[in-house]
Amino acid sequence: MKREYVMGNGAIALGAMAAGVNLVSGYPGTPSSEIIETISKYPHEGLHLEWSVNEKAALEVAASASYAGARTLVTMKQVGLNVASDPLMSLAYVGVKGGMVIVSADDPGPISSQTEQDTRRFAEFARIPVFDPTSPEEAFTMIQEAFDYSEKYKTPVLFRPTTRICHAYANIDVPEEFKPHAFEGFVKDSKRWVIFPRLSFANHAMIEKRNPEIGDDFSDNRMNFVNTDKPCEKVIFAGGVSYAYAREFLKDFPDIKLCKIATPYPFPEKFALSCLKGAKSVMVLEELSPYIEENLLKLAGKEHLDLSICGKLTGDVSVSGENSYENISLILSKFLGIAIGEEQIDLSSAPSLPVRPPVLCAGCPHRASFYAVKQAMRGKKSYFCGDIGCYTLGNAMPLDMCDTCLCMGAGVTMAQGFHWVDPKMEGAAFAFIGDSTFFASGMTGVVNAVYNEANVVICILDNSTTAMTGHQPHPGTGRNMMGDIVEKVSIENILRGIGLKFVETVDPLDLDKAVDTVKRAAAEKGVKAIIFKSPCIAIAKSTKKAEISEKCIQCKKCIREIGCPAIVVENGKVMMDTNLCTGCNLCAQVCPVSAISVK
């Protein structure tokens, strides 16, 4: 064993490797992306590792491997589970042979997500077990047990850390070497592996009988933990990072009964019941949905328990957003009647703080792409459908180029809807989609547009990486997670293959040419595509800088038009922050008096 300092996602990765995982697949998404990246940094001979094209593909690749007896890990963020839900719902009926753990990282807040959905609910919906770690340390051991449970009950299992677990660092003792699990290989048996109504009916009955047994099994597992067996009138239940906050608060109160629910589904009823012995009032601390709370209410009804249960449903715990040490300590001090001292500095007279919404980086080629479309369509009513990635930030002022953003790939299809409800628009319906997102779920939308004869302009913002989640490779980059150099999948060829006549690739940093291309695309009928190709500035490190000469007339057009964070006003004068500037040359092309030059 050696002690390492790793992120929660690293602990999950190393735990899976300690469990002998044979195949790992996934699609990047905050807060889950570092799991696969961690594995790629450790020796992993005999293990297949891939960024799949999307979460559905990842789960299906892993499914057959698990049928063959291999241990598999699939990673994604919570909204990725929506994409993977089609194979998941069926796989839950079919089951697996080799252990399969699906990590779906939830994001209370949400901090970097579209929704505050709760993977524990998804587990119950799919009727498969779910594990909910309360710390990186626990995640490391828990995921190893998750593989065992998966094999024992022949079912895929969900593992759902939240952002604060994924991105917390801790000391973990890890094995010196990882050995892949030995497995039998696929044994043909169409009665077992081919889903038909008859199999679904039989397995549905089997699952409903099995799940309460798993709940009892979980009741005996020490992962579900209570600090005292003594009957207490007041009992606290907690799950996930809320348990860590509660423990922090209760450090000086070891006699207060605190129960951890680590396996929310199937709910460990016997464990919960034993914790409730002598209880009169219960407080439930959890994030996202009132999952534990509802299960306790169900249990109380079933067992005719005379007690009050407080949590999200009673308004004692916030229904949305993440918990914190601060809100948990307020809730618990009230519930337990413990006074908390005033320890903070009084900040009532603090000066007003600047707001700092996230913005496109200085020199980001997406800024230039958005600006080119904006210039080309000035004065003509158009629709700008955004998508998921860095370029969602194109919505910020002064660009203001993102009218909608819904989910991965939706921009391509939503632009079509705007065309159908406003076919005579003066401008055009635009979709903006990144290269990785295009591969993940943009391509089918283009086929839909061609087939149904929509008039749309599809702008592919190709920076040759998956930037927002930390620069993962994808099918267009020419390398994969096994470290191989592979054939690049050409976006242009895909579009031409679908049948698009207008497909042009342009450098967005060449403003005049980019504007001209957009104008020509918008003027034509049918489905048109422009590939704005320029590398992500965080990868293609530039040493160039822009300079502002005395010719500057302080009109501030550069600031008003493109909003680059490198252009600032100091003592009333427009200045270039050379620590941020990458010399992309966009501002120089916007300046009306040619006062900006790049060296």
Binding site: Y5, A170, Y245, E248, E343, L347, G470, I559, P565, V569
Partner: protein, 196 residues
């Protein structure tokens, strides 16, 4: 040893590396360490925070009013996170502001000076200027290491200068090690009143 250190700034300033070095150095000195980082959308020019908890800790985030030290790369970010500081804690802050683009558009004149004045009134504070201290390196990219030097020499970090220097050597690409070590010494010199 129990120490809670909060590191804050604006995405892209190098706060994550600073927190990793502190955590690793504390670990090398035999402590249990927990930390937490801002990762995701906020990294693109938003406010970022790293929590480093040395010793006993359950919560991955430092509770408000419990932080021994705030290391801030930006004046307003220090004020934004001041609620985390213990009443007798210390703030080490860069006086050079990062102006958000929205601010530049509306021209409210944010220059960080009010923030520094407020901090001085409220708590124990060491103010440093990233532009002055990094001038000899030609880039403020080394400021995170300078700030570590200030923190280590202040005596409030509880980790030796040697342990931090060792981690810098381990974590920085070989060709930048010397410049980073020099940056660390510049930070140490600020506290010792040396003009390097």
């Amino acid at each position: 040893m129990n120490k809670d250190i909060l590191i804050c700034g604006v995405g892209g300033q190098g706060t994550v590396l600073a927190s990793k070095i502190i955590a690793a150095a504390a670990m090398e000195e035999g402590n249990t360490v927990h930390s937490a980082e801002t990762i995701g959308m906020a990294q693109r020019g938003g406010s970022v925070i790293s929590h480093v908890r040395i010793g006993d800790a359950y919560s991955p985030l430092i509770p408000k009013g419990k932080s021994d030290m705030i290391l801030s790369f930006e004046p307003a970010e220090a004020v934004r996170n001041l609620g985390y500081l213990k009443k007798d804690g210390i703030v080490i802050v860069n006086s050079v502001p990062v102006k958000p683009t929205t601010e530049t558009l509306q021209e409210t004149g944010y220059d960080g000076k009010d923030m520094i004045a407020y901090l001085k009134e409220k708590c124990n504070v060491i103010v440093v200027n990233s532009e002055e201290l990094c001038r000899k390196f030609g880039s403020t990219k080394y400021f995170n290491i300078v700030l570590l030097g200030v923190a280590a020499a202040s005596g409030h970090l509880g980790i030796s200068e040697e342990a931090i220097m060792k981690e810098i050597e381990k974590r920085v690409p070989p060709k930048f090690v010397e410049t980073n070590k020099e940056a660390f010494r510049v930070g140490v010199g600020v506290v010792r009143g040396e003009n390097l």
